[in-house]
Symmetry: C2
Subunit: 254 residues, 2 copies
Amino acid sequence: MIEVVIIGSGNVGKHLFDALKTSKSVSIAQIVGRNIDTLNYFGGSVDTTTDFSEIKEADIYIIAVNDDSIASVSELVRNKSGVIAHTSGSMSIDVLSNHNRFGVFYPLQTLSRAHEVDFKSIPICVEAHNDNDLRLLMKLAGKVSDSVYEVDSNQRKKLHLAAVFVNNFTNHLYQIGSHICQENGLSFEMLHPLLLETAKKVKTLSPYDAQTGPARRNDTATIESHLEQLTNSDYKEIYAVLTKSIQQVYGKKL
Amino acid sequence: MIEVVIIGSGNVGKHLFDALKTSKSVSIAQIVGRNIDTLNYFGGSVDTTTDFSEIKEADIYIIAVNDDSIASVSELVRNKSGVIAHTSGSMSIDVLSNHNRFGVFYPLQTLSRAHEVDFKSIPICVEAHNDNDLRLLMKLAGKVSDSVYEVDSNQRKKLHLAAVFVNNFTNHLYQIGSHICQENGLSFEMLHPLLLETAKKVKTLSPYDAQTGPARRNDTATIESHLEQLTNSDYKEIYAVLTKSIQQVYGKKL
């Protein structure tokens, strides 16, 4: 049985709780948070506290708080013997180096409070200061996910950067698509099968091979017509820069 | 029974054939194409020809060829009494205005020869020069798809522009993510659950509400660190332009 304390009652804390509680070999000893409202989510199914002096003993303390608070929050479990692990994509493991046993437990996914996810498919990136703790964190990760990776802090930083492109920036492109639909009396719903297929495709085909469209074909007439149609200057700039970059990849300059 | 001739044996022709042949109330009279190799795909299951003088009679002629060839190919069925419809997202219905009965039958999806798609979920955008032909094209669309829309040429043009953002440009962001992974000894597979979830999310949440990340949070320290990490000048420019646009949407200027 792995005893876990989750510190932080936000999105990541909630989703980790939901995932970990399904494992028979994991026991969630406590959820610790400052926000009584979000703690209420956990109801009577687990011990919760807002009092950081009352943190229980556990094998692993998962710190699921904002990047900026990780260092200070980790000080509150300074005297504990368990492994302290943060859940951040961009913070180095070294932010916890004041501790004897420390590591990282990073679920690579976009987690919204309102949106259910299948945790089994979420890659968990694990790192630890020593091999025993790495094994322990990997064991815990394996209880909730089918994809567990050992990823060092530098790799994790790059993964987080790549995630900004495929998640945050992609979502902004969806927003632009949605805006164009809205302006022309079209339902954004019409684009959903297309964008979903675009995402599914790169599971079997590399993005390099999957690329289609006017930039890939170097179809300058269509590119010019599209640029003319775009009245929003940011959208126009995004269109131009992405087109240039695609042409660069396929060796066709404007 | 709706009799259909498909002109063009490329991706769109192939996928339309596969979809239409499943309907009991559609009969595919013929596939017409110049390329004997791609025609071979259809095997003995349907009449095929490379001879444009041998085109059969049908209710609907679907012209599934490159945008630039639509006008000239349509001349080959000038003497036919059926409805002539092209399948292009960006071409106006007027490219066929030399004909008596003409329209558009545009499946809004990215169709690769090698990749199976569920045609039932593909939105089909239909337009016609007269109401009877519109009804006929909508009836045919309804045989293969659960989402049939009447979309005029101007709307379709805008839809095609929006599709470039959510499909072509999104795929390029995937490629950048894949490149960053590759450079750092990481598998692009790790990002797949994230990018798939990003696409699924906007079915239930608007892209406006779904937006997360450093640009949305106006987290300038992370943005600066990411820009520093990007050595490829195109990627850096894409990062900067998309970040600026997201900040613009959420009212936070750099």
